[in-house]
């Protein structure tokens, strides 16, 4: 029941946030700089811009992939969370996130705020990051990664997290977990980049990061009411299948776009991405066929996504056969994690965000240390299977550090948010559904 005092109190936070947002934007307006004439490659730029659009598409695709898997009374809450991130993280990125992630390095840990409000981020290429495309093209491409990474976590706490708490948590997470890890692996001066850790498109930065945060959220928020005996089947599997198909499509932007140019490397990453997805989808189906006698729609799409997750860090460093093995490994490991392990340990990782992105990302990061070959990417390294065990150790180190950072920070942030505003929806809200209680909306009418 809403009291007048309650409604006034719950309106104050969005109001304060909006005022803070306006003030920061005003500050950023004052410091905007002028640009010089750019020197760019049109093919590279066209591809990176297209890839950015493809990666953005992955967030609404993910929204439907997840949305189809929840109960119909919660589908809008999932879509809404994804769309909010498209808005909020974009702004955070422009105002200070990009600067923290990719800006001038401070001690190997983080970027400084020189690029606050994209000051100094113009259309002249940034020679260190992407010499043939406008700096803003690189920035906007990376923005789409920053958006989808927190969206992945939604799968762990679906159907039971309060919207306001979600908004605050993911904003803090993006700033204090995503931006630092992004800097370590991809930022110039980042300490993992300096180790020589290989992560082509985001195995550590995106999937391990989000996957571990997902596990934390599932553990801290606790199980849904009645889980596991009262849990419901997907309310719209066709949505999930469509979402998965669009994710596969968008992933070409995610991985091949990370070549930051249109040419041989982008092609190689494109091919590797596709093959890993195909082999992983088939493998999951075969596992189900053997275990249950029937392959399922949910299984084949989960397998395909697991393959895409795993190939992400490896995509620019492995050849097609390496990609094939990585896909097979992804489905085997993620199947064990999502279908067998989760049931045995009893945690409610609702949509297997940890099982697929966490475990898949860890496998992918390690597999990069196995299958990487300089014949595909001379700027990379050779992996264990090409006679260089050292790379595997670097990958393991990078994985461990990311796991620990994400686990600890996600835990701390969620605990803080929970203490300040309560993260979990009330029992009443969970029973009635988040769409109605959180957004006053119903996804599907029953009567016309």
């Amino acid at each position: 029941m809403e009291t007048t005092a309650g409604r006034a109190r719950s309106s104050i936070f969005p109001l304060i946030f909006f005022l803070v947002f306006l003030v920061i934007t005003a500050l950023a307006t004052v410091v905007a700089a002028a640009d010089e004439p750019p020197k760019i490659d049109t093919g590279d730029t066209a591809w990176v811009l297209m890839a950015s659009a493809l990666v953005l598409l992955m967030t609404p695709a993910l929204a439907f992939f997840y949305g189809g898997l929840v109960r119909r009374k919660n589908v809008l809450s999932v879509l809404m969370q994804c769309f909010l991130l498209m808005c909020v993280i974009s702004i955070q990125w422009v105002l200070f996130g990009y600067s923290l992630a990719f800006g001038p390095d401070v001690g190997g840990w983080i970027g400084n705020l020189d690029w606050f409000g994209l000051k100094g981020v113009g259309l002249v290429p940034h020679a260190g990051y992407a010499a043939t495309i406008p700096h803003q093209a690189f920035m906007i491409f990376q923005m789409m990664f920053a958006i989808i990474t927190p969206a992945l976590i939604i799968g762990a706490f679906a159907e039971r997290m309060k919207f306001a708490a979600f908004a605050v948590f993911t904003l803090l997470w993006a700033t204090l977990v995503y931006d630092p890890v992004c800097h370590w692996v991809w930022g110039i001066g980042g300490f993992m980049r300096n180790w020589g850790a290989l992560d082509f498109a985001g195995g550590t930065v995106v999937h391990i990061n989000a996957g571990i945060a997902a596990l934390v959220c599932a553990l801290v928020l606790g199980k849904r009411i009645g889980y596991p005996s009262n849990s419901a089947p997907p309310h719209n599997l066709p949505f999930a299948v469509l979402g998965a198909g669009l994710l596969w499509f968008g992933w070409f932007g995610f991985n091949a776009g990370s070549a930051l140019g249109a040419g041989a490397l982008a092609t190689s990453a494109f091919v590797a991405t596709h093959i890993a997805s195909a082999s992983a989808g088939l493998t999951w189906s075969l596992i189900e066929w053997v275990r249950h006698g029937k392959p399922t729609g949910l299984g084949i799409i989960t397998g395909a996504v697991a393959g895409l997750v795993a190939i992400t860090p490896a995509s620019g460093f492995v050849n097609p056969i390496g990609a094939l093995w990585i896909g097979i490994g992804a489905s085997v490991l993620c199947y064990i994690a999502a279908v067998i392990m989760k049931g045995k340990f009893g945690y409610d990782d609702t949509l297997d965000a940890f099982g697929v992105h966490g475990i898949g990302g860890i496998w992918g990061a390690i597999a990069t240390g196995l299958f990487a070959t300089k014949t595909v990417n001379a700027a990379g390294a050779d992996g264990l299977f090409y006679g260089n065990p050292a790379q595997l150790m670097i990958q393991v180190k990078a994985t461990l550090v990311t796991v620990v950072w994400s686990f600890v920070m996600s835990f701390v942030l969620l605990k803080i948010v929970n203490a300040v505003m309560g993260a979990r929806a009330s029992e009443h809200e969970e029973r009635v559904g988040l769409d109605l209680t959180g957004h006053s909306e119903s996804a599907y009418t029953i009567l016309d």
Binding site: L69, P228, S231, P233, P234, E288, H292, K294, T296, L298, G299, T302, A338, V339, I340, K342, G343, D352
Partner: protein, 113 residues
């Protein structure tokens, strides 16, 4: 007057409606329901979530009839819905106290027509 509720297999609906038409019984309300008898359903598997298949899709027909049409209605439903397998369904016959035709205000037997 009687109120007849029939739970039948979803794929028998058209046959039952055709048989009812033959017997000049036009009034019917049809709804989709879930239900179970002694028949076991098909188990569903969604990753780690397994449903043993307790509830099955059925169709419910609700028909208000005057006494003299009860036998014909039961005959029509039974012959249209019967497949001989478990899960064919059941028919319940209830006493009906009052009927009102909303458009004209008629009550009782004439309201059923």
């Amino acid at each position: 007057m009687k109120y007849i509720i029939a739970i039948i297999q979803p794929d028998r609906v058209q046959d039952v409606l055709a048989k009812l038409e033959e017997k000049e019984i036009h009034l019917v309300t049809v709804s989709q329901v879930l239900g179970r008898g002694r028949q076991k359903g098909i188990a569903e598997v969604y990753r780690s979530h397994k449903e043993p298949g307790n509830l099955l899709k059925k169709v419910k027909l609700e028909i208000a009839v005057n006494e003299q049409f009860v036998a014909a209605t039961l005959e029509a439903i039974t012959s249209g819905a019967r497949t001989g397998s478990i899960g064919d369904g059941k028919i319940f016959v209830l006493s009906l106290d009052e009927v009102v035709r909303i458009r004209t205000g008629e009550t009782g037997g004439p309201a059923i027509g």
